[in-house]
């Protein structure tokens, strides 16, 4: 496992999306030339904001394309957060993503989040035919016809606000960005499942001494769980050895464990009410599970996790 790719994953979590403050740039590698794009690359702005943009690239995977892509990502990462979408049919796969991220010095872009997604045979919310507020249409375009069972005629959806000015509709851009940003539900669900699995030696005891679960979590063999919980409740200090350790666990397991951008994202995307539920859950973990609280209850902990997950719209996984 390379340190660079995991650094990217970690930095992805550490830096936060800050979607409301950072410029947001999507780089989409797709069959754009089929749709009439003359060069291999161009740039579209988003209505209402001069900083957000969508960069179109039509590059089949090759060593040269990989280098060019890396340069493009590096260039745009200086301007804001970057989501890179790679079309599988252009020859991209997980190995390519790894290679691309490995050679990116993500630490040089500490203020930006860089993410890479594959699409075309899995993640599909970027397509208009799957999500009417998507961005990619048919045949390398920003538009598509949608069949609607309730109407006789198909609906024509176009994500372009102004073709001459190369301007895209904001609602389409925001929708896709948010779809790919909201991966927190899965992470919280996984934390809940992993937490109860780890604590299973205590779940079926008739009586649990106050703090017994806390003492168990503190054991060296349960360090990963402890670090994930600390990250979830916002108590994992940036730059600390513990943060480095959790990063190592991420590298080893190839899973995403960091949560420290969770609060701000939940606030932005789900509103104050969910942020409140999140704060309540954090407090219960902090003062109940990670303490010597005699009245701590696994059922209440479960209920609070469930309340939070239920309040987050959409399925756990795409």
């Amino acid at each position: 496992m390379s340190t660079a790719s995991s650094k990217a994953a970690v930095s992805d979590n550490l830096k936060g999306e800050n979607a409301s403050r950072q410029n947001r740039i999507m780089i989409v590698v797709w069959s754009w030339q089929y749709g009439g794009m003359k060069e291999y690359k161009d740039e579209w702005a988003i209505e209402g904001n001069s900083g957000d943009k969508l960069v179109r690239l039509d590059l089949k995977m090759s060593p040269e394309a990989k280098d060019l892509l890396q340069q493009t990502i590096q260039s745009y990462a200086q301007q804001g957060d970057v989501f890179v979408f790679l079309h599988r049919r252009h020859g991209y796969n997980q190995k390519n993503i790894k290679a691309i991220l490995e050679q990116l010095n993500v630490d040089a872009y500490a203020e930006s989040t860089i993410r890479c997604f594959l699409f075309g045979e899995g993640n599909d919310k970027i397509y208009i035919v799957n999500q009417s507020k998507g961005l990619l249409g048919t045949r390398g375009s920003f538009s598509a016809k949608l069949e609607d069972d309730t109407r006789d005629q198909a609906i024509y959806i176009n994500a372009i606000a102004n073709e001459e000015e190369k301007l895209l509709k904001r609602k389409h851009f925001d929708f896709v960005w948010n779809q790919y940003s909201h991966n927190f539900k899965a992470k919280i669900f996984e934390l809940k499942e992993d937490l109860f699995h780890s604590l299973s030696p205590f779940l079926f005891l008739k009586e649990i001494q106050a703090g017994a679960a806390y003492n168990y979590i503190k054991l060296n063999e349960n360090q990963l769980l402890m670090l994930r919980l600390l990250s979830f409740i916002g108590k994992l200090r940036k730059g600390s050895n513990l943060e480095t350790k959790l990063r190592e666990f991420e590298q080893q397991d190839r899973r995403s464990y960091f949560f420290d951008d969770c609060h701000i994202n939940l606030k932005i995307t789900y509103g104050e009410q969910l942020a409140h539920v999140y704060n309540e859950l954090c407090a219960y973990i902090s003062k109940g599970l990670l303490a010597y609280e005699p009245d701590f209850s696994f059922q209440i902990l479960r209920d609070q996790f469930d309340e939070m997950l239920q309040a987050m719209a959409g399925s756990t996984y795409d």
Binding site: L203, F298, T316
Partner: protein, 256 residues
């Protein structure tokens, strides 16, 4: 002591809960999805307990309702139970954070698979959705669509060579190259590798493993850009693709 066979992807949990089961006069016996004989051996099982969701490919996967279908089709007399951390009061679901006073009573009141529509959703990735996309008639995620395209071309080419004795260079140029079969094969294999890890917890995963082995056998033909005539016939590419189609169609008819 009565026996319950179980499948779990996390081994700590059944170990931890076994004491509770024993106190209820039941023993837990692990069951492998991947047995020596291929499919899970359930013929001697009376009660099957699934600890859900399963964890594969770094994702929690909700497999419970595909298993329900499988049990209903092949072992309708088995009592199927699930256990997990969601809060639910289904007659066949054990809430691990609120276990029943009497397991005997719980089992007595659990229903046979024909008596209820679905198991309670365990909250993970809904595997039926993956299967549905896998089997879609067309689309950017369908595997069977891409397989159909490759199979059709290989069938035409094989008939041209075997029946009409057409020169292979013509077959190569007019059928394989003209229809970009190498690209289509690449798409097919790419999709296959994307899907396979998600299917590990399915009761019929052995069939997918068999398909995987067949695809590996014929891959060299496509990797050589279909240029080697002897591979087409010698590897029985058409026949093997037909077997792949048949195997997948059987699962598709029942579960997708």
């Amino acid at each position: 002591m009565k026996q319950i066979s179980y499948i779990a992807t996390n081994q700590l949990l059944p170990q931890a809960i076994s004491t509770w089961f024993e106190a209820q006069n039941y023993s837990l016996k692990p069951l492998s999805i991947h047995s020596e004989k291929g499919h899970p051996q359930l013929s001697n099982t009376n009660i099957l307990l699934l600890f859900v969701p399963f964890f594969h490919n770094n994702v929690y996967i909700s497999i419970e309702n595909v298993w329900k279908k499988y049990v209903a089709l092949h072992y309708p007399n088995i009592l199927l139970l699930t256990a997990g951390y969601i809060k639910h009061t289904h007659a066949n679901y054990l809430d691990l954070l609120q276990l029943p006073e009497s397991l005997e009573y719980f089992i007595k009141h659990a229903k046979s698979v024909s008596e209820f529509d679905s198991m309670p959703f365990s909250g993970g990735l809904i595997i039926e959705n993956k299967l549905q996309k896998f089997y879609e008639g067309h689309g950017d995620e369908s595997l069977t669509d891409e397989l159909g395209k490759v199979y059709r071309m290989v069938t035409i080419a094989t008939d041209e060579v075997k029946i009409h004795h057409s020169p292979y260079i013509e077959v190569l140029e007019n059928i394989f190259q003209a229809n970009h079969i190498v690209d289509k094969w690449s798409v097919l294999i790419n999709r296959w590798h994307n899907y396979l890890p998600f299917f590990k917890g399915l009761p019929f995963f052995e069939t997918f493993k068999e398909v995987d082995a067949i695809l590996k056998q014929i891959a060299p033909f496509f990797e050589q850009e279909c240029k080697i005539e002897s591979h087409l016939i010698g590897f029985n590419v058409k026949e093997k693709l037909h077997i792949v189609k048949q195997k997948l169609e059987i699962i598709g008819r029942q579960y997708a």
